[in-house]
Symmetry: C2
């Protein structure tokens, strides 16, 4: 069902020096599937993350924030990440916190680290106790098969309702030094920025000072994982982590002003956008991939607000599913997005290259067969021009199909 | 498919003195269906309305606002309403405005009124030109069959994707005088407050001064049509109109302070709530009717925000469709509703009488079979207690089924 999902060759996912990955089949929720991932990071690496804004954030998210804050206060660096699928350890109150801490303590014991050097992640069902004994029992296996070539297996190990593992990789040359970037992501429903039931882990071998990496992770998230929506549901567990292992020969990046920073930033953004778009392409029940671009706004915030209103509208999404150019639904979504001083008489709407609405009304030259032709494609650009400024924003989304309902009506069964 | 939709007896819809209704089959979009309604109001009546907040509001909404404003400035009273289905006359720019005005002018000519005494309404497809000639050609028939007993036919004449006509009626005694109230509504998708592709017309025979009626219509809308959601899409055409014909023997209500006002207000709210809930019961593809009540908030606004986040969540709605007590999805929706200082550790969640989550975590005494038992019902109360104040809010909504997708993927076909 995934939309133009590229075939991923495991051999094309470059190892990142200083980063190894191993998994286990721990039977957290279902037997015979990889459901625990441990990523180990050599000493000296920098790690930064951004997390869900959901007030009901999961216990592991709280622990991640604590452990990263401890690094910021001069604590020892992060040396391992542990991810389980099958159970989100969210809505689990204080017992959930105990379990998240116990996971870190056990991995620390096995790996000879401090618990604070571990970041825990969980994804799956909310409101159910995480079977900590199974998770702990899986850790030795995940430590035993650590390899830096295991990116594809790692991508498999973090899947939930994903139908395909998601990974991307690049090598770029910065100031004459080769920098290698590899990442994995998961998520297929409950996807909306800030963030979604999505996990993203992206490692590269450049050295980046902690404060710079903290800025970089926000910059990249705002241009990748925070620009996607499937159903508008922001999850309790979303996390996006950057790992800078520092093993490349490129001198350490200590400022956001350097050309090397700009080159690295763009490369990381590029990989993260690919990882984020893979989530949409594999969106639950998705049959179309839509890019919603809003231009000519007063500021990026209002452009995003309108792009998200379009991207979330069940009526817009079902019309795209049906390839029905019922495009008034897009105008309605623009109108209710909450930009209260919007002059709709200035708005143009394009579907790919087809000018559908002009100055707030139907373009007299618009022919339904032109709209129909675009709607039948599997990748579609919805472009809105507001005519009131120079700001712009883009959101990636998918359609709403029968299969979305089936998948989410059956998820736990 | 409708959920516990009451059987409506046309004979139980009381005529309202001073108000007549007539329809036509004008072939606006499809043949052989009532698609034009004219409601005539005797001289001396007061009329007030509230309309969509969508910036892309339809041409007839703009004209309604103008004509009601003219009454407020001392113009002649409103004497007729004209409604067409099949085409929303929205996203139609200046040509749409011309058509809305021409509709009023033609009805005024036929009925011996000024155009400003007419309120026009349209509902149906957006972004397509309204076939004004067909609409005009239908007006004589709609004027010819005016009867004050035609409420049921009127309810049929305003249906679009509705599967059942929606009407409600009451007689109440206020200060010893019988007051009769009857109303109709339509809408089944694109339903969210402020408002939805919904039309509501509610007439009664009490006399109410214009400024009091203007307040009453807002009070009632905020407790009825502004408390429902099906898919979160706010339409371009929503309108809710109160007609006070003044034919009852009850002395005119000229202040909101009188006991008579309070009695009338409650009766009108009651009928409007029934009309609003009928829309949800007939929601596109609905199989469950859910009441979402949020209590213990700091203010009603935050309670509404959380109630709507739950009511809009596709994941919550699909879980209810499946009768799957995957209730962590409700917690997630509470968490992302945007109440940024929410202490989730104080939150309790009930499903009917079952305490599912307590103090932000799973209630230790909660058993899945108890949740399952409630989820299987067709009417369910989702009750959230925030534990931070005394405010409360309620929203009515329905589940998200395969049929919602089918209906909206096929609507124009």
């Amino acid at each position: 069902m995934a939309v133009n999902f590229p075939s991923i060759d495991p051999a094309a996912l470059h190892p990142v020096a200083g980063v190894t990955l191993g998994w286990a089949e721990a039977n957290i929720r279902k037997p015979n599937r990889k459901d625990v991932l441990v990523i180990r990071v050599d000493e000296g690496a920098s790690v930064a993350g951004v997390f869900t804004q959901n007030r009901f954030c999961a216990a592991p998210v709280i622990v991640c924030r604590e452990h990263l804050a401890a690094v910021g206060k001069g604590g020892k660096g992060i040396r391992a990440l542990v991810v389980n699928t099958g159970n989100a350890n969210a809505g689990t109150g204080e017992p959930g916190m105990v379990i998240a801490r116990e996971t870190c303590a056990e991995l620390a014991r096995l790996a000879g680290l401090d618990a604070q050097q571990i970041l825990p992640f969980s994804t799956g069902v909310i409101l159910e106790p995480l079977p900590i004994d199974r998770l702990k029992a899986g850790l030795p296996a995940a430590l035993a098969n650590q390899e830096n070539a295991h990116w594809f297996d790692a991508a498999q190990a973090i899947m939930t309702t994903d139908t395909l593992p998601k990974a991307a990789s690049r090598q770029v040359t910065i100031d004459g030094h080769v920098v290698t970037l590899s990442g994995i992501s998961k998520g297929a429903g409950m996807i909306k920025p800030n963030m979604a039931t999505m996990l993203g882990f992206l490692a590269f071998d450049a050295a980046v000072a902690q404060p710079v990496l903290d800025q970089l992770v926000k910059h990249v998230a705002d241009r990748s994982f925070n620009c996607i929506t499937i159903d508008g549901d922001t999850s309790t567990n979303d996390s996006f982590i950057l790992i800078a292992s520092g093993k490349s020969s490129l001198p350490a990046i200590t400022s956001t002003d350097s050309p090397a920073y700009a080159a690295l930033r763009d490369a990381v953004t590029d990989v993260a956008q690919e990882l984020a778009q893979l989530i949409v392409r594999d969106g639950e029940g998705a049959t179309k991939f839509m890019t919603v671009t809003v231009e000519g706004g007063k500021d990026a915030a209002e452009c995003r607000q309108i792009a998200y209103a379009i991207g979330h509208s069940p009526l817009v999404k079902t019309a795209f599913y049906a390839s029905d150019p019922n495009l008034g639904r897009i105008l309605a979504a623009i109108g209710y997005a909450g930009v209260t001083d919007l002059d709709v008489g200035k708005i143009d709407l394009y579907l790919d290259d087809v000018l559908v609405a002009k100055a707030g009304g139907r373009n007299p030259a618009y022919k339904e067969e032109d709209g129909q032709r675009v709607m039948k494609k599997s990748e579609i650009l919805i472009r809105v021009v507001l005519g009131r400024g120079n700001a712009t924003a883009t959101v990636w989304t998918c359609d709403l199909s029968h299969d979305y309902v089936s998948i989410n009506a059956d998820y736990r069964s």
